[in-house]
């Protein structure tokens, strides 16, 4: 039910939706899960979550009409948050299954390849994030805060100004990126304890401007 601050969580068979909804509930924000592209028109904010693989995710988004709905939602200026795979498919292309993705942010998603053979893939666990520029969603992040990551691919935006924070795993990679009313995280705020809950609360307050 759309309330004063209604958040639509997009269901595109990528799992992990209930975790995001529960985390929103924990910070006092009503959120509902939807697979109906038409329902985005009535939402104040959208969260595009996801774990899984780029290929099937894009196929689902394209065939369901969700791609057009998302682009229309963004064009309206309302805030959109992408999480993990939901963020990765905002770039132009993903090496995962050689998938062309939404192209909201210029750049590509690449597989981790390391010099150091002892580094494990996926990058799984808690890591620090290092903000590169101010953003309302990162206002309350402190230097010692850790976020939970689990991913084998990472985003490489073409323009430095789209990168809001980096994390380090052999090399630095973009872990928070955005443009205008779009923001995306490689980490999972819904699984990052109270630090992550604070970021979700900030998203629920964000008006979409930087």
């Amino acid at each position: 039910m759309p309330s004063a601050s209604s958040i639509a969580i997009i269901d595109y068979d990528a799992g992990n939706l209930a975790s995001v909804r529960r985390a929103c509930a924990e910070v006092g924000v009503a959120a509902h899960i939807t697979r109906d592209p038409d329902s985005l028109a009535g939402a104040d904010r959208v969260i595009f979550p996801g774990v899984g693989a780029a290929g099937p995710a894009m196929a689902s988004i394209r065939t369901s009409g969700m791609e057009e709905a998302l682009k229309a939602f963004l064009a309206s200026g309302r805030p959109l948050l992408g999480i993990c795979l939901g963020m990765q498919i905002s770039l132009d292309h993903s090496e995962e299954q050689g998938t062309d993705t939404l192209g909201l942010i210029a750049g590509r998603v690449q597989r981790f390849r390391f010099e150091d053979p002892s580094l494990k893939v996926p990058h799984m666990g808690w890591n620090r994030i290092h903000p590169q520029r101010a953003h309302p969603l990162l206002d309350e992040v402190e230097a010692d805060d850790y976020f939970y990551f689990v991913h084998g691919y990472y985003p490489a935006p073409a323009h430095a100004e789209d990168v809001y924070a980096v994390a380090r795993y052999e090399h630095d990679f973009a872990c928070a990126l955005g443009r205008d009313n779009y923001f995306g995280t490689q980490f999972h705020p819904e699984k990052s304890g109270r630090v992550g809950l604070r970021l979700l609360a900030a998203f629920a307050r964000w008006d979409g401007t930087c």
Binding site: G15, E26, M124, W126, D144, Y148, K191
Partner: protein, 259 residues
Amino acid sequence: MLSKRLIACLDVRDGKLAKSVKFVDTRDIGDPVSKAREYYLDGLDELVFYDITASSDRRNIMLDVVEAVAEQVFIPLSVGGGVRSVSDATDLRHAGAEKINVNSAAVARPALISECAEAIGDQNVVLSMDIAQTADREQFPSGYRIVINGGRKPMPLDALEWALEGERLGAGELVVNSIDADGTRDGYELTLTRMISEAVRIPVIASGGAGVPQHLIDVLTDGKADAALVASMVHFGDYQVSGLKRSLADAGIPMRMSW
């Protein structure tokens, strides 16, 4: 820098918390939901629930527990015990589990790993291995063999070979549980943990035998583990989660110390 993880394992039987010692004589030690919440607030990095219920309605009991925990705990939640099919895995995911642990059923039918990886993503499939040392190097070149059914049934399967096969089939992470060390509080099986961690490219969780903080330090350094799993150390109040993490951080191990 990626931190090492402290993981607490809660064995659940009939919806209640139990802790096994050498896999026999489990005893109840409390309510899993409140324990999970307590650990979460004290800085735990990840939770594992292991269902050791024997009854036939086990699935529904466990789904209720997982759902109740997921309402209150906002760190990764991993669930295992009796996962035999993709539908078991997806039901637990919908209840709120992040990761699914497969164990005996995957030994019986290895395709379970790839089927789950396909359905819920590689990174969410944890291959949990119960492992015993063996002197029979001819049949078990690594010196370790797989044991299934809660430590009761030794299998003609080399532990290292199974770890590599699990990785190949799409497991995103391995739990290396030493049957010999489990419940002893004498320390993790360092040789075994290191051997497997060095052989695979996916993260390894060390399990079985933790008694004092130094054991965790040893397995996260010498043992090359990515995460250390504890149970009785924290369940019986001997150690606090935050205190344990402080001991590890003081020893120079990268830990998440702010939450």
